[in-house]
């Protein structure tokens, strides 16, 4: 069991602002002993629109650092939209609009004054289907550092590529073929390559949009083990349609339905003693 962190664990005794609905009535369960650290990203009153259609309604959520936060919910509930708000990817969709504040390190990154490119160097993203560039493995990892001029010499770049691949648990498998096309790897390896690519720019946060849904169970297990390693030093937010995965991998879970955050809290508590009936229904499979 990992030791308690210095800060007092965030209590879930008081309902947070994101809790809605009728409490279940059962006594609150003692929270997990691995307490996440301070809040990394605070979402305040987020409303998102695609042209006239509203996709997110008044979402308020605090995402802790050095932990995995999972968004769960049925298809179309807005969890992917919310994820994409965090790194301003919705900016690329014509007609998309995000209102509200997203605070990170004291800055509102959703503000129009902030360059989305700056945001994306601090918040990386891994997509559902692995998308390595049609380049060599080395070039894939080197892309970010080169674009943002993070290293000044070839030796430094080589080192950065190696450390990123090590952190993504892929180095041993590809160290002899860094020049081969990234697309020649298996699905699971490609996804780890993409994670290594994201790690190469040393982001504070990594977003993952259903990263295992295109992978077989063995590859999925590898990725989940990797996520557990990464979260010790990085904030991770993962969208998943698999509740079992959320239960395995995350410390905090947020349940979404029809664009609203229904309930959020420690994963243990959400899955064993959810406060809201809707959460209970989803978890027991009554819908979704």
């Amino acid at each position: 069991m990992a030791p308690m962190t210095q800060e007092a664990p965030k209590s879930t005794r008081e309902p947070t602002r994101s809790n809605r609905g009728v409490p279940m009535g059962a006594p609150l369960v003692a929270q997990s002993s691995i307490a996440p650290a301070a809040t990394r990203i605070a979402l305040q009153d987020i409303n998102a629109f695609y042209s006239e259609k509203q996709a997110l309604f008044d979402v308020n959520l605090e995402i802790p650092d050095n932990a995995v936060t999972a968004f769960i919910g049925a298809s179309g509930c807005g969890k992917s939209t919310l994820l994409r708000c965090l790194n301003r990817m919705n900016d690329t969709i014509p007609g998309a609009r995000v209102e509200g504040r997203i605070l990170m390190d004291g800055t509102d990154i959703n503000s129009a004054d902030i360059d989305p490119v700056q945001v994306r160097t601090r918040i990386g993203m891994v997509f559902q289907k692995p998308n390595p560039f049609p380049m060599s493995i080395y070039e894939n990892i080197a892309y970010g550092p080169r674009t943002h001029k993070l290293v000044s010499s070839k030796a430094d770049l080589d080192e950065l590529v190696e450390s990123s691949l090590r952190r993504a648990a892929l180095w041993d498998e590809v160290k002899d073929r860094l020049g081969k096309p990234g697309l020649g790897l298996s699905g699971g390896q490609q996804q780890r390559l993409v994670i290594a690519r994201a790690l190469a720019v040393s982001p504070a946060v990594i977003l993952m949009d259903e990263p295992c849904s295109a992978l077989d169970p063995i590859a999925t297990a590898h990725i989940e083990a990797l996520i557990d390693q990464l979260r010790k030093h990085t904030c991770i937010v993962i969208v998943t349609h698999s509740m079992a995965q959320a239960a395995r991998v995350s410390q905090i879970t947020g349940f979404f339905h029809m664009g609203k955050l229904i309930e959020s809290g420690p994963t243990d508590q959400i899955f064993t003693m959810p406060k809201v009936e809707q959460t209970q229904d989803y978890i027991t499979g009554r819908f979704g």
Binding site: D105, I114, D115, V117, L150, A204
Partner: protein, 322 residues
């Protein structure tokens, strides 16, 4: 382990980076150049041909006498030649092109499909001057020795139109509208085949499966279900072929006979706008009426081509949208 990027304070950077602005502007300029070129062509042709339109008025289009010596220029013979050769070419090329397309997409054994497709595209790549030479050295003598006498003899019974148009009754010179139409047909054939094949390939398999499930033969599925569904695009392919045929120069110039007068038979030596422009250009001095009429002809051809190509595009895209 936060390293440099994450701990750098976020500067409220400018929204639009300089690199992006230069990028966008240069691309927009490129697009603008395309539009400017087209507009300029129309404008230059019109302005250059103004003298011709002013001198003859509408008679420039309807006049049937083209005489550089007396400086009387009427474009009707050229226009007639252009339209007749293009339409005849289309009439010949379309069924064959369509047949090739159907063969390529439906009945051809898959091993042959690739090579045959390549062969058709190579046919399209042959430069038009080569077609012209082939027409002049091979087809024209063949026409004059075998085909034309046969046509004259076989169709002698068709009554002439008035006293000026005799269908197939003409001296078997070999060069003339019919030969030019044949060459044009061969030139636009691969084009129609390729475009039609693309249209047929883009029909959803679901449509054909539905017909086959009801026991239709391949031909019935094609005519009953596929063609009605893509009729617009098929017409689009036809118009595209027509657009090409209207403007073709080098292939025609060798075999049309270059007689700028109203044709008196389908085999008569004639002229098209393109052939007149190409042939009369060397003698046309800048600033004279001689050059102005060529530019005026060019303007007419461009307007007609523009219209045909615009219709073709509309038809082809309409289906793509739905």
């Amino acid at each position: 382990m936060s390293t440099p990027t994450a701990s750098r304070p976020m500067i409220g950077a400018r929204r639009m980076h300089v690199g992006d602005t230069a990028f966008r502007i240069s691309l927009h300029v490129a697009g603008a150049i395309v539009v400017i070129v087209l507009v300029s062509i129309l404008a230059i042709m019109f302005l250059g041909g103004r003298l011709a339109f002013e001198t003859f008025g509408l008679d420039f289009i309807w006049g049937s006498e083209w005489n550089p010596v007396t400086q009387v220029y009427g474009a009707l013979p050229a226009i007639t030649g252009t339209l007749v050769t293009a339409l005849l070419a289309l009439l010949i090329a379309w069924p064959i092109g369509f047949g090739i397309a159907f063969f390529l997409t439906e009945t051809c054994p898959s091993k042959l499909r690739g090579p045959l497709g390549v062969a058709i595209e190579l046919l399209a790549a042959v430069p038009s001057i080569v077609y012209g030479m082939w027409g002049f050295f091979v087809l024209a003598p063949f026409m004059s020795e075998y085909v034309q006498p046969w046509l004259t003899a076989t169709f002698i019974w068709i009554p002439p139109v008035g006293d000026s148009f005799f269908w197939f009754t003409a001296p078997p010179i070999g060069v003339g509208m019919l030969t030019a139409s044949l060459i044009l047909a061969i030139m636009i054939l691969p084009f129609i085949a390729a475009t039609t094949r693309d249209v047929l390939l883009s029909t959803p398999q679901l449509l054909k499966d539905g017909a086959y499930a009801m026991g239709a033969t391949r031909w019935e599925a094609l005519t009953g279900v596929v063609i009605p569904a893509v009729r617009g695009s098929l017409f689009g392919a036809v118009f595209l072929g027509l657009g090409r045929a209207l403007g073709e120069t080098m292939a025609v110039v060798f075999v049309i006979g270059n007689a700028i007068r109203m044709p008196d038979s389908l085999m008569a030596p004639s002229a098209t706008i393109a052939s007149v422009v190409a042939n009369s250009f060397p003698e046309a001095e800048p600033g004279t009426l001689d050059l102005a009429v060529l530019l005026g002809l060019g303007f007419i051809l461009f307007v007609v081509s523009f219209g045909v190509l615009a219709i073709a595009r509309l038809l082809l895209h309409q289906e793509r949208m739905s």
